[in-house]
Symmetry: C2
Subunit: 416 residues, 2 copies
Amino acid sequence: MRFGVNYTPSQGWFHSWLDFDVAAVARDLDAIAGLGVDHIRIFPLWHLVQPNRTLIRPSALDDVACVLDLAAEVGLEVNVDGLQGHLSSYDFMPSWLESWHRKNMFTHPLAVSGEVEYLRALTRAVADRPNLLGITLGNEVNQFAGGVHPTPHTITPEEAGSWLGTLDAAVRTETNTLVTHAMYDASWYRDDQPFLPEHAADYGDSTVVHSWVFNGSAQLDGPLAPASVRHAQYLLALAAAWNRDAERPVWLQEVGAPINVVPVADVPEFISRTVRHAMESPKLWGITWWCSHDVSRSLADFPPLEYDLGLIDSDGNVKPSGRAFAELIKELRDAGPAPAPEAALELDDSVDGYRAQCAPGGAFHRAWMAAAEHTAPGQAPQIVLRSRRGDQELLAARGISDNKITQVLSEEAPYA
Amino acid sequence: MRFGVNYTPSQGWFHSWLDFDVAAVARDLDAIAGLGVDHIRIFPLWHLVQPNRTLIRPSALDDVACVLDLAAEVGLEVNVDGLQGHLSSYDFMPSWLESWHRKNMFTHPLAVSGEVEYLRALTRAVADRPNLLGITLGNEVNQFAGGVHPTPHTITPEEAGSWLGTLDAAVRTETNTLVTHAMYDASWYRDDQPFLPEHAADYGDSTVVHSWVFNGSAQLDGPLAPASVRHAQYLLALAAAWNRDAERPVWLQEVGAPINVVPVADVPEFISRTVRHAMESPKLWGITWWCSHDVSRSLADFPPLEYDLGLIDSDGNVKPSGRAFAELIKELRDAGPAPAPEAALELDDSVDGYRAQCAPGGAFHRAWMAAAEHTAPGQAPQIVLRSRRGDQELLAARGISDNKITQVLSEEAPYA
């Protein structure tokens, strides 16, 4: 079982790429390694690395590679995310895609070719590092495509898939490492999101989920209720339902304890229950906590919750949350793979609005949470798609018994 | 008479702030000094200096100050522009004002207070340099306010004035240097532009104009016709019409030879005629050519004309345009102030749409060009506002004879 953290630099947050400070990064990584994690996920800022479509700054790529080398010194593997893009409420779009140069980032040929060149260059810069864990195309890039974004790059699901295929292939021209892509949970929960659950499962080498209980989960029943502490597990179960290969890993690549919905005093318990439940998931590759370091209060305008997500404060002191995570790692890092429960709930993915049914408070979500709570530990149901119900080979490979599949009736989702 | 150039770094354009290279800047400034100019205008990128509202990077300020020191070594004064903002078709807006953090940059209290802090910090960083020429609030910031911008920060003229007053005062808390603000010509020519001609004249220490003949001027009659080579002079005359103090200087802070409308072979002649005509303007402080260096063809997506505006190519060779400008400087730098012609045209600024009348092809523009061509050299008419026609003291101070003022009748402007 792999444990890691998303690395949020203690000095200057991700703006620290502008003042790359080897000693500061080394100090941060040393503190992170002290938690017992085996990997980090890092986030170059796209608009700084590629300020013009045809200018990919060698010195910026050198800085990224340097982080890998510093991480290697303290025994950490590194996953590099490409298109940031979006981080903690801030969007960083290069000027060659905005305003007078506005182009659809997913479909315009010059935009896509620029992204291809960027991801190839970024991958090349780190491909020879032995501690390269993988490349993620970008952090929650689906945020830019959805209807909730203030200025969305509107696309169809077919265009989303085509874009993922193009960028995934671009990275693979440069490396044999793990390639993934990351979506925020609108892809699972919002019917207007063009990036679909099947895109999570059909592109990349593992199916990645990001679990954030400020999405309504914690508000439903409270910070330590099943809807909160099983949310990551539920999302992993949903993700696995779309995997065409039963052996395909799932990765809880982001999960955090947002204190707008989880009181600080409950955070260690929230972490413990969240991690333990997540580990009940079959084929789980690992858990990567968001995040390493608090955002300094000297930086303005973040949503309040974003300041306190760190396991380590901005002065470098491990917080109670960090101690809780570290203790869990010590206890759980040698755990074997979770068994595959025979029972499953069937999701009717054929109906319009099925994603709203999956969202926190939706009929399917409610049904799964109830079923999970009424089974023995480790026996929370898997999820089967109605559209794939006939694939007996897949069901068998997943360890699901046909006579233990329960249909869930669609109904109006209260939180749709 | 002051001559200068707008400094466009030969390596990496303004993205070079990301890889600040003292030797490269020194090489550029040496080449610029070789033209015989006495000053440059420089453009820090706002989003890089202030990536978070409360993070103004000391190292970025140091780089700006370093440019002044390098300029001092070759005898150049430096004007520092603040809010870029907009440069050569690219917008660089900090992420704390865009997307999820979108705020009206002219009216939102947090936006304005962030801008105040930025301009104060930028000014403080250079205030003690003996070769500091001045501070301009930002380059053509009115671009963001106008109706033609794809995502305008919509404001009223009153709000534009209030914003200018706030920012002007902020800079003055840190320095006694020249303070100016710069608008593109929509303020003179478009009736939907909230930044008004009077704002050019009522804020800052001199009235600044930017002359670009791709605005229709050159298209009207050709690259060497009066509408082209007198455009800067005309804009200076318009600017002076709004000055409440006859002694207030006017500054041709940007003027260039865009090869989409001025054939390369005509550029030296265009420069010569443009400069000579501009120098007929009473109270002209100086002429700052756009720009020092060509944009490298290795950078993508600029409008084609933007690549060739340099007086020096991106390899450091002085172009025919550079030689022409250098020869003019040698000839004209000791020229005395231009006489104030007694004749003037009266602009009826009381009618709706008077700005369209002033635009290239508009009735007033046509009338002024015709009058300028039919007078002796140095005798092109001044411009008087109907709203200030009664200010005999001002007219006298400007050297205008009441009996030599000609009214221009409004009419439908063909290019409105």
